[in-house]
Amino acid sequence: MTTIEIAQRVDARGLSCPLPIVRTAIAIKSLSSGDLIEVLATDPGSTKDFTAWAKTTGNELVEQGVEDGVFRFLLRRK
């Protein structure tokens, strides 16, 4: 079994646009290439935003899901 090691977590629950993206962008700066970052958000716009953000910045959106109204994004720093 492979263990997924998450280097950093960003809790953006309850925060509105553009905070989930901005907080993630600030947090990912301190990581090294290949590191994983997990983001939790409740902003309904974040699903599209994180897909677009991953595309423009080149960071990889590894996983995304929703549970009890909380969106979860797993991203890998490029």
Partner: protein, 195 residues
């Protein structure tokens, strides 16, 4: 009847075919640069010191920087006052400049709405609504924008005319420039906004 497949070289001499067989120039297929996008840049001219417009400026600047864009904000005219340090109550050297800052309190925490201001009641309600909805204040967004490398550039002419000195501005603000520098930035930018 037999179908014949006509090859281009059957009706055009090769030398007239514009080098169809030539390989695609190697730089277009360079694996190093393939798929790589040039960093896009955004220039915002922040002319207004109104709460709602400064909000728009700081939201767009921080989002653009978060998305990897190179962002510069040129602060001019009323847009200069949000850059003044929060503890400074009054700016200006002569009575007119001082009056200006008394009637238009500097600092990003003291901005007024362009409409429905109601002597501060409007902004107070806006900040309450923002808090309820998890929206960051312009000052917080400006700090995040700075952390993401957004360049804050004040206009020299506005500083002279309004009587705002460089030491009255928040940390991280670059030295003041004129219209020519701002225009050069705009001419090279992928997007320019006047807010």
């Amino acid at each position: 009847m037999t179908a014949t497949i006509t090859k281009p070289d059957q009706y055009l001499p090769t030398e007239l075919m514009g080098g169809l067989d030539d390989p695609i120039p190697s730089d277009e297929l360079d694996p190093e640069t393939e798929g790589e996008v040039k960093t896009k840049s955004l220039v915002i001219v922040a002319e207004s010191g109104d709460l709602e417009r400064t909000w728009a400026t700081t939201i767009l600047a921080s989002s653009a920087a978060a998305s990897g864009m190179q962002v510069s904000i040129f602060f001019t005219f009323w847009g200069l006052f949000p850059l003044v340090r929060p503890e400074i109550r009054m700016t200006g050297k002569n009575w007119m400049q001082k009056m200006l800052s008394v009637m238009n309190r500097p600092g990003i925490g003291h901005l007024k709405l362009s409409k429905l201001n109601f002597a501060g009641m409007g902004p107070w309600m806006m900040h309450r609504l923002a808090k309820q909805h998890g929206v960051a204040k312009p000052g917080e967004l400006l700090e995040m924008a700075q952390a993401l490398g957004v360049r804050l550039i004040p206009c020299q002419m506005s500083m002279d005319m309004m009587g705002v000195s460089a030491d009255q501005l928040i940390d991280g603000v670059e030295s003041a420039v004129g219209a020519a520098t701002a225009l050069e930035l705009m001419a090279e930018a992928d997007a320019t906004l006047f807010i």
